[in-house]
Symmetry: C2
């Protein structure tokens, strides 16, 4: 691990680009002095922002490019138009070349995924990368994956997700053997897809030293914090994430409307405003910003496209911690422990032939 | 439609049984005088409850049975043990025999599903029934289905869900052509399973007079109320429902804890308590209690097992409305309009052979 954490930023990514990315980097630098930044993008847009943050400027280098992936580009378009030239590609490429330890972008998720996978490639034993995020629960944070990097998948894919998620949780939460649950539905006998049941049996049979498999967890178990790591395939993970974000927004709106409805309520709001501030903080999606692509030969962090500077700084913090605590090596070790955690898994019929 | 709505209740269903079911029926009867009840279960447990509600007693008949399906029974166990004898089976059977218009149970979901399907059978053109619920959104209520009655399914199954959900929404919301969205994830190109894309194309091509297909809706679109009907297969639907319930509970708990933290907050709570009461009402799962099994030759309503009397009364209300506004005939008409909405769907390759 290098003494400094070297962070490659796609300075053009997200709904706003440099006016969010640069102030975000300045906030994160304030928290982690031992950081260096490579800023990829349009110099004319980056420099004015950087001039407002002299300390960041001293810790940064700009690598100019005119090309930026737009939020509307399809992954294939982004690859065609932006390969080798776009700020997103170049930030990922800096990780590949060993010039940076992590790449962070608030750009288009599909494009970031496609470029990361195309350029960095997946780790041995991993077919498809995953998007993992830190999820605030009643008992602290959990890691939830996959949030939409890939859809569906067999039992072996779910086991790979469990191993990668456990690596991330052990790094983040400093737990040698985090608990892992498989997301499932609660109706007996028709319980879950075949592959979820099979993954559960595999995890139990493997009894891995690096994770404590606790069984199935229902949708409401995520928020209860029933496990440090919640594993599901990308379609349902994405639906769960978005449904949760939507519910939080819906309740905030109800509350805001109610608080305006009478002078008694308004007065109550004034008295209890510290409580509301804490609640807003807890529910602030910016504070859990920073999805991590797992399973690649390099660390890539995805920030929400619509985040503000504070939110982008959290995404950088996530990337910083992943590097500082050596996530990549940890995942590799876990995947290859005892001759390969996943290789030792009973193979599927189609793999045998 | 009969002048009275005849409701068969599984008086033994749910975590509590008769002490919730009977007072719940009394509440609902207060709202809909033109109701008659058939109460299935242990007479010794039903009668003492009924004695406290003379008006309900006058509108009810007890059909005694010793056998009750337990909340822990697997569907196959429930069928083995409780077929033809249990309070749950007899309530469903009353619908089959035409003695009741709707059966309502707070019992074990899997067992209720299995018995309903086994006894009532599915409508022509419907392979697998669905569980639909009323979902409170920022723009009023939506119908969401399937919430876990069956897992997975091809495009034709999703189209059937759309048609049945639209029937239910048109009945509930009095809209001749409710909007329908397919739940999907937002990443371009890897967007959704093949069957969701295909269902979208089918719905667009069919351009049915009874529903207005508006395209894909992401997880946060449910709470925004983007469509009157949200369609998804049962696994992701169940995950979305439970994740949403979990989030609501998590936020309530945050808020409750914060409000107790200082005397200023407590004072604020007192002033704004009408606002909190409204919020609690809006978030109360009892008030959106009552999932409807769609696609069967009869109407069956599932109440939450852990609901209170007020919540069970809402489930009865839902059943009442389904009968009063003739849901079953509406679904049948929609399924068979123009020679069969679903039959006219381009068949899958495997159906051709």
């Amino acid at each position: 691990m290098p003494s400094k954490v070297r962070i490659a930023l796609d300075a053009m990514g997200g709904d706003v680009g440099a006016p969010v990315v640069i102030p975000g980097a300045a906030i994160s630098l304030g928290r982690h002095r031992e950081t260096e930044f490579l800023l990829f993008g349009d110099r004319a847009k980056i420099e004015p922002e950087l001039d407002r943050h002299p300390e960041l400027k001293a810790a940064s280098r700009i690598i100019h490019t005119d090309v930026a992936v737009s939020m509307e580009d399809k992954p294939s378009q982004a690859l065609r138009r932006g390969r080798k030239t776009s700020s997103m590609w170049l930030a990922i490429d800096a990780v590949k070349k060993g010039e940076a330890d992590v790449a962070i972008s608030a750009g288009n998720t599909g494009a970031l995924m496609a470029m990361s996978r195309f350029n960095l490639r997946t780790l041995p034993g991993i077919d498809r990368p995953a998007l993992a995020a830190i999820w605030p629960t009643m008992r602290g944070d959990s890691v939830v994956l996959d949030l939409g990097a890939s859809i569906g998948g067999d039992a072996r894919h779910l086991v790979a997700l469990a191993v990668m998620g456990a690596s991330m949780a052990s790094v983040l939460f400093d737990k040698p053997r985090p608990t892992v649950g498989l997301l499932n539905i609660g109706v007996e006998e028709i319980k879950g897809h075949e592959e979820i049941r099979e993954a559960g049996e595999m995890l139990r049979a493997m009894n891995l030293p690096q994770l404590d498999y606790i069984g199935f967890v229902e949708g409401d178990g995520i928020g209860k914090g029933l496990a440090d790591v919640i594993v599901t395939e990308g379609y349902s993970g994405n639906i769960a994430l978005k449904a949760t974000e939507g519910t939080a927004r819906q309740i905030s709106e109800y509350l805001r409307n109610e608080m305006r409805r009478s002078w008694m309520n308004k007065l109550g709001y004034l008295f209890a405003r510290s409580a509301f501030r804490t609640l807003r903080d807890k529910m602030d999606p910016n504070k859990s910003n920073g999805g991590v692509f797992l399973g690649l030969k390099g660390v890539v962090v995805k920030s929400h496209g619509g985040t503000n500077a504070e939110g982008f700084a959290y995404a950088i913090d996530v990337g910083y911690e992943m590097v500082k605590f050596d996530l990549l090596n940890k995942i590799n070790q876990m995947l290859n422990r005892d001759g390969g955690a996943l290789v030792s898994v009973p193979t599927e019929p189609e793999d045998v032939s």
